[in-house]
């Protein structure tokens, strides 16, 4: 009984941490621009797929990972620069539609430039399971947890102790007042896309050894990350991570105790529930800047 529960919990926390990282990307972009970036899942895909193909080209994994994340960051910058800035007059809804278009374009390009197959990535430190009270834990899960904690610490430092981080908080609170301080909002929006793309790509690299990666992997992962961001209260970075864990655990428990057929439905039930009854998420939107 306990071992079964633990097993589901481990699996929920692992995948939940990934959803949280992806949700974090939604939060960072939302804060800077009020845009919900539906190409977030494609950053995840680029991270995994680029690593796969760079390794196939003979690069060692660490270098492949760094280049893949940098490549995704560049795509994020281009999306902000070309997609968002040139369409400033389009309004937030128009910009969101642009990100949907970008996501379709990036999926198509991935299928042409790379391929339509499923690819595994080797786990960071082997796949000999660790036994805990009768349940098994993959070393990759520990890496994912460690990465999540490191990212949270880094972001906290960035937002609370750097000038640019504080400027991002200020711009999220009141863009006009921030501009009057000489803060360049366009630069911050670009930076938020770069940061979110890098976070997404990292999630893509971390999750690929568990779920494999393919050109359309970002569709479902992106939606789960969106669910995480909604549960956490849109624009609340820490909330997005907690939201990811909530969605991941709920999903794993449903798959374990009910049926795996229901697994993907859970995220959408949660989105609907939160949007209908808790429009500010479980953790509140007001906490945005304090995260």
């Amino acid at each position: 009984m306990l071992s079964e529960f633990l097993q589901f919990l481990f699996s929920g926390l692992t995948v939940g941490a990934i959803y949280g990282l992806i949700g974090l990307g939604f939060a960072v972009i939302y804060n800077a621009s009020h845009v919900i970036n539906f190409a977030q899942g494609e950053f995840v895909m680029i991270g995994g797929m680029a690593t796969v193909f760079l390794m196939a080209a003979g690069l060692p994994m660490p270098l492949a990972v760094v280049l893949a994340i940098a490549g995704a960051a560049l795509v994020g910058w281009l999306l902000a620069r070309i997609g968002i800035e040139t369409a400033r007059g389009a309004g937030v809804v128009g910009l969101i539609i642009i990100t949907i278009g970008a996501s379709i374009l990036l999926r198509g390009l991935a299928q042409v430039v790379w391929d339509r197959n499923f690819h595994p990535l080797p786990p960071i430190s082997g796949d000999a399971p660790i036994h805990v009270f009768g349940a098994t834990l993959l070393p990759q899960s520990l890496w994912i947890g460690a990465a999540l904690i490191a990212i949270m610490a880094a972001l906290r430092f960035f937002f609370d102790h750097t000038r640019t981080g504080k400027a991002m908080q200020a711009a999220a609170i009141d863009p006009l007042a921030a501009q009057l301080m000489g803060i360049d909002i366009r630069r911050l929006v670009r930076l938020s896309f770069v940061l979110s793309a890098a976070l997404g790509a990292l999630a893509g690299v971390l999750v690929a050894p568990i779920t494999m990666t393919y050109a359309n992997v970002g569709v479902m992962l992106g939606l789960k990350g969106f669910a995480a961001a909604i549960v956490g209260g849109l624009g609340n970075p820490l909330g997005a991570i907690a939201g990811g864990l909530v969605v991941g655990i709920a999903e794993a428990m449903t798959a374990g105790y009910l049926s795996s057929a229901w697994k993907d439905v859970v995220a959408f039930v949660i989105i609907l529930f939160v949007l209908l009854f808790l429009p500010n998420g479980l953790f509140g939107r007001a906490e945005v800047h304090r995260a």
Binding site: K166, A167, A170, D174, A178, Q179, M181, I183, H289
Partner: protein
């Protein structure tokens, strides 16, 4: 020195009379609404200039256009003789045009000190630290509350913070949009005392106000904005005596 009566003298003379800020026939729209239809004015170095106008006259639109956060559809803005009509908001702050916006707009969920530091966003670290010391010397109350969230300050303290935050950018020209808004008469007096103190210390100030009486009584020069046009100007005290101003803005 008869021979010296050449181009050099002419240019220094012209320089001395070039206003710090010159606005020429400025036009600006909000979508289809033309909020500025021809605003012209000049602010000279060291002056305190006030522009008064009724609610909806276009005062805030003018201030935003001066700061580069509102599109301009015609006319010119010159700062120290340079055309800045198309300059970015950041470039204007770096040049020394800094605004205290209508409604104060402090960053409520951030600390008082973070608010002040953000004011020095375009300045060096050293200038930021120096600015902080000056701000705390000028407004000791803010020092006591520096760890407090700005949103928890009273209206008067928020106005102090908004002014101190703008000073952190080391303005050469301070723009104030409706500093009396939402304040009790006592706090309005305090705020205008602060503004006068800054003016005495040599700061060039351009403020817009609906409260024509307080604004014009301290202004070296005043303008009246009506329907997006500057329709009248003169020394502050003289405008206060003007029948049209009395009738329209002072309820006399």
């Amino acid at each position: 020195m008869v021979i010296g009566h050449g181009s050099v003298d002419m240019s220094t003379q012209r320089h001395a009379t070039t206003p710090m800020l010159e606005v020429i026939d400025l036009q600006s729209r909000h979508g289809r609404i033309q909020a500025l239809k021809g605003a012209s004015l000049a602010v000279r170095a060291g002056q305190l200039v006030a522009l008064v106008g009724a609610n909806g006259a276009g005062k805030t639109t003018l201030m935003r256009a001066l700061s580069g956060v509102q599109p301009v559809h015609g006319g010119q803005i010159l700062f120290e003789g340079r055309d800045i009509t198309r300059a970015t908001a950041g470039a204007r702050v770096r040049a020394g045009i800094v605004q205290v916006p209508e409604g104060r707009r402090v960053f409520g969920p951030m600390s008082v000190e973070d608010n002040l530091r953000l004011g020095a966003f375009t300045r060096s670290r050293r200038e930021e630290e120096e600015g902080l010391e000056r701000a705390y010397a000028l407004f000791p109350r803010l020092k006591d509350r520096r760890r407090q969230l700005a949103g928890t300050l009273s209206g008067g303290e928020q106005q102090m913070l908004a002014i101190a935050r703008a000073l952190m950018a080391r303005p050469r020209l301070l723009l104030l949009d409706e500093p009396s808004m939402g304040l009790s008469p006592l706090l309005v007096d305090q705020t205008f005392e602060t503004i006068q103190r800054l003016a005495k210390d040599g700061m060039t100030i351009f403020l817009v106000e609906q409260n024509a009486f307080v604004a014009l009584s301290i202004a070296d020069h005043g303008y009246v904005l009506e329907g997006g046009r500057t329709v009248l100007d003169g020394p502050g005290r003289a405008l206060l005596e003007d029948d049209r101003v009395k009738e329209a803005y002072l309820g006399v």
